[in-house]
Each structure stands twice: as structure tokens, then as C-alpha cells.
Amino acid sequence: MDIKPIQDEKRAFMTGNEVIVWGALAAGADIMYGYPITPQNEIMHYWTRLVPKYKKDFLQTEDEISAGFTTVGGVLAGKRAFTATAGPGNVLMQEALSMAEMMRLPTVVIVTQRGGPSTGTVIYSQQEVNLTCFGGNGEGLRIVYSTSSHQELFNYTIKAFNTAWKYRFPTFVLSDGYQSKMREPVTIYDPEEKGITIEPTESLLGLPGTPGVERDPAHLRNTYNLEDELYNVVKSSVKEYNSIISKIVEYDTYAVEDAKVLIIAHGVVSRAAKAAISSLREKGIKAGYFRPITLRPFPDEALRSLVDNVDHIVVAESAYGQLENIVKNNLYGFNIPIIGYLRPGMGITPEEITDFVKAELSL
């Protein structure tokens, strides 16, 4: 980091994609590899404009398969490498990310969800939860932050690099097209001035000394000959993943102390859910709100500790039950009705949530 991209705190009013770029710069990202897809394009646009000034790099690849694998290469070489994608691009990227998962490579990927399946819309959805959390032929040993505001986009982009390099699991900032394109006030800052240490990186290849002469060669692989070999590798990754969950999980709650109706939402929809709480309470409904910030690992203990006195759970999401399924999984054994306000690819307002809750619970 030759020149500090940000000195002191700065108030700004900008789009989410621009915020992500400032977050990546603040985190000391070295290179972005990317392939055009809406709604993430402007991440590449802003990044490429700032590249010469801050001595960064960019490579536009031939597709997202390549963007994923070049990011893997950058990370192997010891650099804070990242990429950004959405929708069908996220699908193509899963192959490289499953390699990152197997080899514990700290790749950072920004996902700006768009409508699906298929090409869907270029606008907005929350339909990439399954893919981002559990994509690939693996166990979903990933870390996924779901942001809801521009301030969080900045904070969690920085955090994504730090978490990735600290714990060595592929890390994602799961955003969406609305957050990408809208403008919002945000405070950008130099993380180190705020006492946030930037995790050091480490080369996995191209180490000093002649391999086989001065040291052992680094022989890195993701394929194994025997079931047991693979089982032991995955088992140790799972063990390590489980051991760090408590250090990683993040969530937000509001008005949960006496809540009879718990509304669960993530990402930008959580803003509507939170806003709906006060209008529901005005109407005499004891509503509370729970928002997982990390979708992987999921804050299961926090959720379970809240639901003892809850009569109904409402999951609101711009997808057809992707979050709802995660919630159900994590509440196995609890006998609480769970209803979904499921709107794939649609924005969700506080009024809609309020009306839905009133209608469903016949209140």
C-alpha cells in the first residue's frame, strides 16, 4: 500500500458499486479479475479508473470461469485478489470457488444478486443465497456476509478480505442490484485509523529458496487418490470451520424481548422488515425482528435463543424460500409455524410486510 486511498473520515453520497471499490481499496486489495455482468459492472468501472493512481491491477477475463480461476491464482501468489459477479456469472464461478473451498484459498467475491433463474433480470433479487452459500460440489465451507446498506457495503468489504485471510475460507459479500445502483450517504475511512488491522497475506507458491534444495516444494492439490485421504481433508476443514463459527457469526435484532411474531429477513429486505415492526406494534402486534448478517455460517444459536416465546415466524425475502429453508433447518425441533412472504426478484416494502403479517395471522 504505497498511497493510502482514504485519509481521515470522509462523508460521501455514492452508489453501492462505488462504495465496494472504496472498501476494497481501504482493505488493501491488490488486483481485481472480472467479467462484465449487470449489476456489478460499475465495480470494474470505478476500480479501473483508480488502478493507476493507487498502483493496483485489473484483468478483464474471457468469462467468469476464468475470473474465478485467475482470482484463485492471485490468491495463491499471495495477493488480496477479488472478483465480482451476479446471476449466471455466479453460476460459472462456482467451479473455481469449489477449488478455493477445497484448498482453503482466501478468495473474495462480491455478489450483486440479480433476478433468476437463467438470465432473469439485471435488476434485483435475493435468489443467489443457495448458490453463494452452498454452490459447488462441496459442503458450503464459506463465509457469506449479507449487507443491507452502503455503510455495511463499505464495512463488510473490508471485513471480507480480513476474514478470508485470517481464516482461509472463501468469503463473499452478498449484495444485490438495488444496493449496487442506488445512492446513499456513507462514511468511508481508513480501517487502520479505526483500529482495524488489515490481515497480512501469505504466498502459497513462489516462496523464497530453491524447492527441493533449500526447502520442500509446495505441492498443492485438490484431487486425492483414496476416499480416506479426501475424507480426512474435508473433515479437518469442517472441524476448523465449526471452531470459528462463534468468531464469525453476526446478526441484528430489534424489539425481540416480548415478541410474539418474529420477522426474519436478510440484506436490503431487512430494512423493510425492521421498519414494519413499529407499524405492527402501533397496531398492537408484538412484532420483533431478526436479521442474519452472516448467512454462512448462520447465527443459529442466536436465533434459537430468541424463539421460546414466539408464536409465529415470518420470513420475508425476494426469493422463493431460500432463506426460509435455512431458517427451518436451524429451527429443527421447534414447533413454531413458519410462514414465508416470498417474492422472487421483487422489492419488498414495510407496508407489504405489515399487510401480509396482519392478513396471515388474521389480526
Binding site: 479479475y33 474471457e62 485438490n222
Partner: protein, 264 residues
């Protein structure tokens, strides 16, 4: 005392992992010997990164005393491009099969050649997908029997064998090095690979060497038939030699492509 001749291993080979895991008579070992010798002669063991694909090439993940990354089928080039872009002092070698290079990873080959990426790509052409049990590959010869062309490759239905070096030679910009060698001429193959490595080190451009290789296991050939298939049938279809060198001198002046389009 009886003196038995010991085969000379290149210095960069990792003795601890020898004998290697290829079938008897396999061409991979010969290509890797040529590569090993080239690395020895250039003295680049300390800064070479070896990337191997999925295919029988993956058996090389612990083959060399080199920092090595075994990637996915067809994805070795982008991984190495990703490394080279941020660590230009390293020499990166992508070792892959014909299926990996010309079918599933073709887009990476074409685009990295077009961008003149500073990587050296070695493609082992054994006219089929060996590791998966001998299916038809882009390089399978007309009429050649494989598990998925049991009556012989019908080029009307499946196209003609892909000419990898010719493809790369036609798209790579100035500075590229492109050659096709064969395991039946190891000295020449080593020289081609060495030039391909030097070309990367000098920063000239993309370097690409295809090696005609043998897969007696899936060809179901004995030694004589194996040799004959490479020397006669394969060499007939896939001409040996250099296709592009960075110092090539062209006679005559071709119209330059301008940004205004073809008319000017």
C-alpha cells in the same frame, strides 16, 4: 563389479516421487523429461511455478522439485495467468492434455494467446481423453476408434481433428512462440520447450508447445505399434516444427487493421 547404467533424471525431477505413476510406455514421462532438462539448462528451478491440469497430467502434482499447483480440467491457464499478473518474476508452466486445452479450456487458451499472456503452455496430445478411459477428443484422428467413437471417428459428424498450434499461431500477437514437437524426438522437443520458457522470461509473449505423445494403454498398442502411430499417423496429420518465433522476419507488407474498420 557389474555396472548398470542408471537413467539420467533431470535435476529438477523429485527423486522421492520416482518411479512416476504413468503407465509403461506412456509419453507423459518423456515430455516431462524434456521439460525437466529445459528447466535445468535455464537454471530456473528457484522461480518456476508448475501448474498441472486434470487428465493424466494431474499425476505430476508431486513430480518436480518445483512449487506446483494442480488445478481443474482445462483451468490451469487462468490460474497461472492469475499468478503471473501479480508475480511477474515467476516463470509459469501450464502442463495439460489435449482435452483440457482444446475442448473444455479452449476459451482460456484462445483468450490468453490473444492477450499474449506471459505463460508457457505445454499440451500433451495423445489423441484422446486418456484419464477417463479413452474417449474421443478434439484431436482424435479421422477413423480412429475410441470408447465414444467405437466405429472410428466420423469427421462428418464430429469435425476434423483440432490443430492446436495452428490455431494459436493464427491468433497470438507478435512475440508469441508456437511449436509442435513429438516424444519421438526428445532433443528437439526439449529445445522447443526451452525456447518457449525463454520467450516467457524475455517477456516476449505467449508460448505454446504441443507434444505428440503416446497412450499405449488406451490405444491398446504394443511398443512397435505405438511408435508407428506417432511417427506415421499422428505426424502425418499434425506437422512437427516451429510455427511462430518472436524473431520471425516477414517479407512484404500486409495491410494493418485500423480502428476505422477494414476499408482503409
Amino acid at each position: 563389479m557389474e555396472v548398470t547404467a542408471q537413467p539420467q533424471m533431470p535435476k529438477v525431477w523429485r527423486a522421492e516421487t520416482k518411479p512416476h505413476k504413468f503407465c509403461p510406455g506412456c509419453g507423459h514421462g518423456i515430455v516431462l523429461k524434456a521439460l525437466g532438462k529445459a528447466i535445468d539448462e535455464l537454471n530456473i528451478q528457484h522461480n518456476t511455478i508448475f501448474g498441472c491440469d486434470i487428465g493424466c497430467s494431474l499425476l505430476t502434482w508431486d513430480f518436480f522439485n518445483l512449487d506446483t499447483i494442480q488445478t481443474h480440467h482445462g483451468r490451469t491457464i487462468p490460474v497461472l495467468v492469475g499468478i503471473k499478473r501479480v508475480r511477474p518474476e515467476l516463470v509459469v508452466v501450464s502442463y495439460m492434455g489435449d482435452g483440457g486445452a482444446y475442448a473444455i479450456g479452449a476459451q482460456h487458451l484462445v483468450s490468453s494467446a490473444n492477450r499474449n499472456e506471459l505463460v508457457t503452455v505445454i499440451v500433451v496430445n495423445n489423441t484422446q481423453y486418456a484419464m477417463t478411459g479413452g474417449q474421443m477428443a478434439p484431436t482424435t484422428l479421422p477413423g480412429q476408434k475410441t470408447e465414444t467413437s467405437p466405429y472410428g471417428r466420423d469427421i462428418k459428424l464430429t469435425g476434423k481433428p483440432m490443430l492446436g498450434p495452428e490455431l494459436v499461431a493464427s491468433i497470438a500477437p507478435e512475440g508469441a512462440y508456437v511449436a509442435r514437437g513429438t516424444v519421438s524426438n526428445v532433443m528437439q522437443l526439449k529445445n522447443f520447450i526451452k525456447k518457449g520458457l525463454e520467450n516467457q522470461i524475455k517477456g516476449n509473449g505467449f508460448s505454446f508447445i504441443e507434444a505428440l505423445s503416446a497412450c499405449p494403454t488406451n490405444w491398446r498398442t504394443n511398443a512397435a505399434e505405438t511408435w508407428s502411430f506417432i511417427e506415421n499417423e499422428m505426424s502425418e496429420y499434425f506437422p512437427i516444427g516451429e510455427l511462430r518465433t518472436p524473431d520471425e522476419k516477414k517479407v512484404g507488407e500486409k495491410r494493418k487493421v485500423t480502428s476505422n474498420g477494414a476499408k482503409h
